[in-house]
């Protein structure tokens, strides 16, 4: 029994050491940088020391995974692949004298996008296009600014997308100017609407008496998509279909 247990334990320990080593590398590059933690979890930078703090395994795991809301400590559960996350948790555990329980992380079920959809995702969120990117007005997968309602109907092709108005679009007139508008709310004391004149949309608040609203507008997606080619829009549509798939 004893021998069997040892035979089983030795590879596990070697595996744990490997994982701690990988975790140390990840920590050096992702955690012990600049304004954050000190090298090897030590002190000397602006974020707290992590070594020999007597943290519990659960506390370390939860803090690394979920971050500390409202501070600069990110939720690494959203950032690092699962294997790297387990390694960095094992490393911080080791700094606090904890031997990792399960050195073999479960295999990661990867949701892989087809190549054109992956390309479409890049284009959808492409920050190099500044305010001309889709995510200036649309939120998908938790990223982007949710100006528009969640995308319910995906246009068939690039031409249909360019021709598309936005549902519920109106034409607003206020203080002598007229502009395409997306109504957010109409209350007794205020009307809130997005001014779609040019990206990024501006959420404006008016006294109801100041603004008049007419259904419809000549606003079309074509006016805000000049930075994308038809081929790029096809890929973006492929991404939206993949994202909408169950």
């Amino acid at each position: 029994m004893t021998r069997l247990a040892l035979v089983c334990l030795l590879p596990a320990l070697a595996g744990a050491q490997d994982m701690i080593g990988r975790g140390a590398d990840i920590f050096a590059k992702s955690c012990a940088t600049g304004y954050c933690h000190g090298p090897k979890g030590g002190s000397g930078s602006t974020a707290p020391r992590l070594a020999a703090r007597g943290f519990s395994e659960d506390y370390i795991s939860q803090t690394i995974r979920r971050g500390v809301p409202g501070t600069a400590m990110p939720a690494f559960g959203d950032i690092l692949p699962r294997e790297q996350l387990a390694a960095v948790i094992a490393y911080v555990d080791s700094l606090n004298g904890i031997t990792p329980r399960n050195p073999q992380p479960e295999a990661e079920p990867e949701k892989k996008l087809p190549p054109e959809a992956a390309q479409g995702r890049e284009l959808f969120f492409d920050s190099l296009r500044g305010f001309g990117r889709c995510s200036t007005c649309h939120q998908v997968d938790g990223f982007g600014i949710p100006v528009a309602s969640p995308i319910a109907k995906i246009p068939a092709d690039a031409a249909a997308l360019r021709q598309l108005a936005t549902p519920e679009i109106h034409t607003a007139t206020a203080n002598g100017e007229t502009f395409p508008a997306l109504i957010v709310s109409q209350g007794k004391n205020q009307t809130k609407l997005y001014d779609l004149t040019s990206p990024p949309p501006v959420l404006r608040t008016f006294a109801p008496a100041v603004v008049t609203l007419k259904e419809g507008s000549d606003w079309r997606h074509a006016g805000v998509l000049p930075a994308y080619s038809d081929a790029e829009l096809q890929n973006i549509l492929a991404f939206l279909r993949a994202a909408a798939a169950p």
């Binding site: 940088t33 600049g34 030590g42 002190s43 000397g44 409202g70 920050s127 500044g130 995510s135 990206p199």
Partner: protein, 550 residues
Amino acid sequence: MRILPALLVFAGAALAQDGATRADWNYHGGTQYAWRYSALDQINRNNVSKLAPVWAFQTGDYEMGLQSTPIVIGGKLYLSTSRSQVFALDAATGRLIWQFKYPLPRATVPYGPQNRGIAVGGGYVLLATYDDYLIAIDENTGQEAWRVSLDDMRQCGCTVTGAPLVVKDKVIVGGAGGDSAHRGYLTAIYLKTGRVAWRFYTIPGPGEKGHETWKGDSWKFGGGATWMTGSFDPALNLVYWGVGNAAADNDARARYSGVGEGANLYTASVVALDADTGKLKWYHQEIPKDVWDFDSSYECVLIDREVRGQMRKLLVHINKGGYAFVLDRVTGEYINGYPIVDNHNWTTGLTEDGKFVGRVEPVEGKTTLFCPSPFGGKSWNETTYSPRTGFLYTPTLEVCADEAAVSEEPHEGRNFIGGTWKFTNTPSGPAHSHLDAYDPVTGKRQWSYPYKYMLLASLLATGGDVLFTGDPEGFFFALDARTGTKLWSFQTGSGHRGSSVTYMVNGRQYVATPSGWGSLASGSFPDLWPETATFRGGSTLTVFALPEAR
């Protein structure tokens, strides 16, 4: 533009430049020239010892300390906190007029939430939030008029820390994120509608001049944040703004092309932009190929001074590397440069034409001691210029850091520092700071006030020849602007990281100071000075005046 009547009076007397505030404190830097100087002299070096608190306001939001500069207009004081809360107060009594409640962060904020002030213009209080919105709040009612998203915090790894600057019919706002894989910019927005007027990317894109100074795709995530507040010269119609470090901060191997003039433009540079179009008029790169996180993000002080017998329009600017630069603000021509720190070892100095020589750079696999540290030879807290003494006053930090380069791949919005830092003492002794008076053109130090920790609050000079600031121990204090002699101090209860202002209501001069310990830099204090581990946070505005005659 509320300052116009005051300016006109003085324009009648002389054509001399006037960067002083009077009854109001209209802009982040006092006026658009960023002097942080008030001509008020009811409180002066002879009576400042009688200064007493008249009211205090607790914001209740002490996350990351109170780093703000209040704005005061027509007897109303506007104050913002690190988590984007805004208060309008009666400047004479502290009575709350309205409060703008912004939702508190539910997720991580890159570098933590920090807010260094609001702007007021066009009838609005302009708040740039920790999650990259710009919001116009009606200055009378506290009701929101418009808001616009400048970026997606979760994607860009960026936030807004600096106060916006109102320029004519627009408000200009920068952003922080230059230590993330991010491409910096400045955005101008129409006050009336909230629509974007122009955006200037601090890193030129393909086909633009300066793009060649970046290797491969490194320009896409090369930093260049604009995280403090710029200046404006109405006569030249130029906006001046300091641009931050290149990313990865400590490692230029993947970004330095060796092609073109300068390196990694326009990082670590001061840029001058046409206020109407955002087009680049000139730039001065202070540190080409920066590898020390030596941002040029700090304030641009616009002064007219004689240089070798000739009156010149100047811009004085301090870089984190511990050097001050004197430029011609019409052309960007380099006039002079001088160190403000005693400990500087990353260069052997400046040539006649402003080039650093004898550079020592961080390397991979070995730590090297660098002075100043990435906190800078001065933090972001701002200088003041007094036209009465003719001195520029600066809080200077003598702190070093053990640094090493680390090769790192950029991932959009994630930390992209490419190095490790450990803040430490200097080779000549314990880390400390000093508040100094300089001839701003020649760099001759006139006097120096030493302090045992880091001074991390902005300075305020007045027509009464008093210099105000606060320290991390909680003391708000006054020095004689001519000699540096301490004249008065008051314990506010928590350390100072913000910027004090002065104003007048119904003939009475007030001095208001934020206090409340916190921020990134304060996180390093216990390692440098263990006894400071007991320093407590806070978020209070304390307002002082001379006792009223009975």
